[in-house]
Amino acid sequence: MNRGSRRYVALLVAYDVDLTREKLSDEIESSVRRMFGEQGVLWAAPRLIDYDTKRMIGIVRCSHLWVERLRAAVALTTEIDGSRVAFLTLRSAGTLAALREFLHSQPQFQE
């Protein structure tokens, strides 16, 4: 069965305290659920592939048809466990390699 095209989205996390990979993964999924419901989570199939805690950049994989809706859902997230948070998408790409290359080539993401 064809699993459908996927897109990879780089996400910058602005948060007051440290955020674990599990917590971030849960939060991305629940942000899609809050906005688009259980069916949205199924169709979007968001999955945290990578999370660099030092640079606070995560890479999320999702269905190519749901990229814009994923962006909107995570952008409307403002709080995790009572602490304020902001998710800002940096770039989306069709392959993980292309996205990683972009993140390595940009000096502002090396800090």
């Binding site: 910058l12 602005a14 814009e68 909107a72 995570v74 952008a75 409307l76 800002l88 502002q108």
Partner: protein, 217 residues
Amino acid sequence: MARLATRIGLRLVGLTFDLQTPNEEKLTAAKQFEERGIETVSRIDLKPRNRNQLLMTLRKFRFRYDVVAVECSLRQLTAIAFRDQRVDLVFFSPGVSKSRLGELLPRRSERPVEVNVVDLLSDDLTAVSMPRLLRMSNLILAAQRKHLPLVISSGASDMLSMRSPRDMAAIASVFGLEDARALDAVSSIPLSIAEKNLEKHIPRYISEGVEMVRPKV
């Protein structure tokens, strides 16, 4: 904020000041962004209560700021704000009910309507923020129906309420704005407003479309 703006790739930001903000404070804020290679435009949000107050504040502050935005809460004010050439942006106070938005908007105008994403940011997407989401959706659809240009701003007052332009466009497209128009609302339309106003600082500028040309000696 300037550091985050650099990381998300912003090139130009509008800094909103109060009527009472001292000049030193404005310069310091602008310098923080300019040191990181981000251009700035100064902006003021006017919240007049009647027609005379609007005209008086426009006369007084138009030339001190690059961008002038007017908050509209009355139909009488909206009509003037959409017509006056000195106004760059029009926005509606969050207190305006969604049913009144349609009647406040004129049929056709070149003046862009602004939508602030910060008005939507709430930890709870259910009962509390539902009226706000409906209001935004209504405003976007009404502006689209009446062929009014839209500008989507973050309206951020701190780092954690900032959002990237693509995210703001994605939010607007979820609320019914066409994808291409959503991207214009965060890029070309605000850029054209800033460029139009920055042009006025050039010494040879006289008025829109008119500039002084000196023959070469």
